[in-house]
Symmetry: C2
Subunit: 380 residues, 2 copies
């Protein structure tokens, strides 16, 4: 059987790690990069640069591959649908993507399936947004329905001056007519995530629930095990299975949850390998990247069983003054993943994962490794 | 600091796995493939095909990279020396390579350093070979001094008819004037191997000793832990350190040993990532491939600590009737590495590694995974 050529829309670190996984599976990967310095473009033999929202660009890319998948959500869903109608295989397909790219549609799907979520109000345009916010006690969280990632597009409004500033900024910008979600801020005790992978035949495999730690809306650390009551883990997993089936997902579905006063509240989903799943490279028999490709290629899925008792992943995030480098002279007792991205404050430049048997020990090893890599660069 | 561009002579599975490791380190890799269908050539953006024993080919390759390393020993050591004199960086260098490519020189180095080895007699040419063999009781093992791998170039002579056939074959072939090693066959209780990695600054890191199982001279399985008395493990490790320093190795040095009646006898060495070290991808914090590249690139070495209690690697070797495929419908509870090589009986097509806490359990999981992948192909 000829293996399919897989085209990845996007050439960031997710595409890079998918390419890495593909090397063990004898699969061919092409990438469509948005920028000439995207990490995967440098190392994938078949790469090109272009805007995936441009019909001629995406169509030409699709014609060179057997199936398309995605490393980001900055796509034109109508164009994806059009290409599907022309017979191009998209995995995940437009049904799943249309929900993943739009938090308003996510909110509607959660409501339709009876999945508990924070109280949520949808507002389209500035006037509706003002009315939705002022009808609630502050603080509230305002989210752009689409286009956000890594905390961008999410605003916490604590007091009225902030509200006016925010509304002014919106009114004068291109987002004036956009849709927003308004959520009275709930008490978040902690956050967890779960990855499931669904094959073309509807087979679903599930990774263990992980705990995620965020700072300024960016994930900084992921921990396995999540140390969550079994009942909540089971509910998170069941929720992910229901969403994967409902959305006809092929590939990874990542679901993020808040734990608020003992309640499991869904936050958002992604239908691609996800930062909270990087830990699976070292902690599980088959990584999320390999299983995503297996699903996209129509292959049977691999085991998601954990191979260690504890694991900790720490993102290496660009700081004002520090770059990142592999040239650490401190002992690094974690697996190092550098993405080869140019330095920018707030940008994810790499990650480290420590595995072992004790959660405290792997947390401390991962932190030491991330610090050693980041600080060393600043001294150069 | 600009990272060096690393040129790998050879584009087999070792180059493929070095390339895979390079993707986490933001290093650039070029490969010089011997054949157009070599596994790494398909996936490395900067690859070319040529005979590395051809001076113009190797020189042109060297001119495009900052440092050269190797995935096989089928090289012209005089040419490597000449390029070193011209200022090209070779890691490992000609001193280590000249010994690695020549079992006669290995024998001399072992003797010089007082490292115990099976009784060994060197014979150059057919007449000397006949005399060396007939002066010992059969069975004896005859090894070509150079050019062998995976059991090729190693002959066990059990009885006199076999001896005559063997000598006839040698006399009529191109090996008539070659050097051979003759070793009265020792009782081999089992075999072990150890990898050490030496940096450009002389820093050495050591992987745990592993047990290796062979069939027909080809490694079929590698087990961690080796379940060897501490004293023998320590002696194996010390031996590897002494050899790495003596030969001024930069990168991986793999040393294979026989255990014979409680004695540790050195068998042979390689100065590159080695089949007995594939298990380090899953079983250790830093794989042999990453550490080899770290050494070659002049970076500090990574931790070799084990992250699991037990691991088992099984090679997937081409059989007469079976191909290999990732399309197994049996559950695969091991990490799968397929090299993308065309099928040939006896050829290493991939490997699987199972990790866990119980050696019996990982052996059984690795065997099941390898069988599932190999048998499935036969049915296609």
């Amino acid at each position: 059987m000829k293996r399919p050529v897989i085209g990845i829309v996007g050439a960031g670190q997710l595409a890079l790690m998918m390419f890495e996984a593909s090397l063990r599976m004898d699969l061919d990967i092409h990438v469509l990069a948005t920028n000439a310095d995207d990490p995967a473009l440098r190392v994938v033999p078949c790469g090109r640069v272009g805007d995936p929202r441009d019909a001629s660009v995406l169509r030409a890319f699709a014609e060179g591959v057997d199936v398309i998948t995605f490393d980001h959500e900055l796509i034109d869903i109508d164009l994806v649908r059009a290409l599907e109608r022309e017979g191009h295989l998209m995995r995940p397909g437009s049904q799943a993507l249309s929900v993943a790219v739009d938090k308003r549609r996510q909110h509607m799907v959660f409501a339709e399936l009876g999945i508990e979520q924070p109280p949520t109000y949808v507002a389209a345009g500035v006037d509706a947004l003002r009315s939705a916010i002022t009808s609630h006690a502050l603080p509230v969280v305002v989210k752009h329905a689409s286009g956000g990632y890594d905390g961008r597009g999410v605003h916490v409004i604590d007091h009225h001056e902030q509200l006016e500033q925010f509304l002014d900024a919106i009114s004068s910008g291109s987002a004036a007519e956009c849709a927003f979600l308004v959520q009275p801020k709930v008490q978040i005790d902690f956050e967890v995530a779960v990855q499931v992978v669904r094959s073309v035949h509807g087979e679903i495999v599930t990774y263990p629930v992980v705990r995620t730690l965020q700072e300024d809306g960016i994930c900084t650390m992921v921990l396995f095990p999540a140390a969550l009551p079994d009942e909540l883990c089971a509910r998170a997993t069941t929720t992910a299975h229901r969403l994967a089936e409902h959305l006809d997902v092929v590939g990874v579905l990542a679901v993020e949850f808040f734990i608020s006063d003992g309640q499991l509240l869904v936050n958002e989903i992604a239908v691609r390998p996800h930062n909270s799943g990087h830990i699976t490279i070292e902690a599980n028999i088959t990584s999320q990247f390999e299983n995503h490709l297996r699903a996209v290629a129509g292959l049977p899925l691999g085991s998601t069983a954990a191979v260690v008792g504890a694991a900790s992943m720490v993102n290496i995030i660009g700081a004002e003054s520090a770059d990142v480098t592999a040239i650490s002279t401190s002992p690094i007792e974690a697996a190092v993943h550098l993405y080869g991205k140019s330095h920018r404050p707030g940008r994810k430049l790499g990650h480290v994962t420590a595995v072992g048997e004790s959660i405290d020990e792997v947390i401390s090893r991962a932190h030491r490794a991330a610090s050693a890599l980041a600080y060393q660069g600043a001294a150069q």
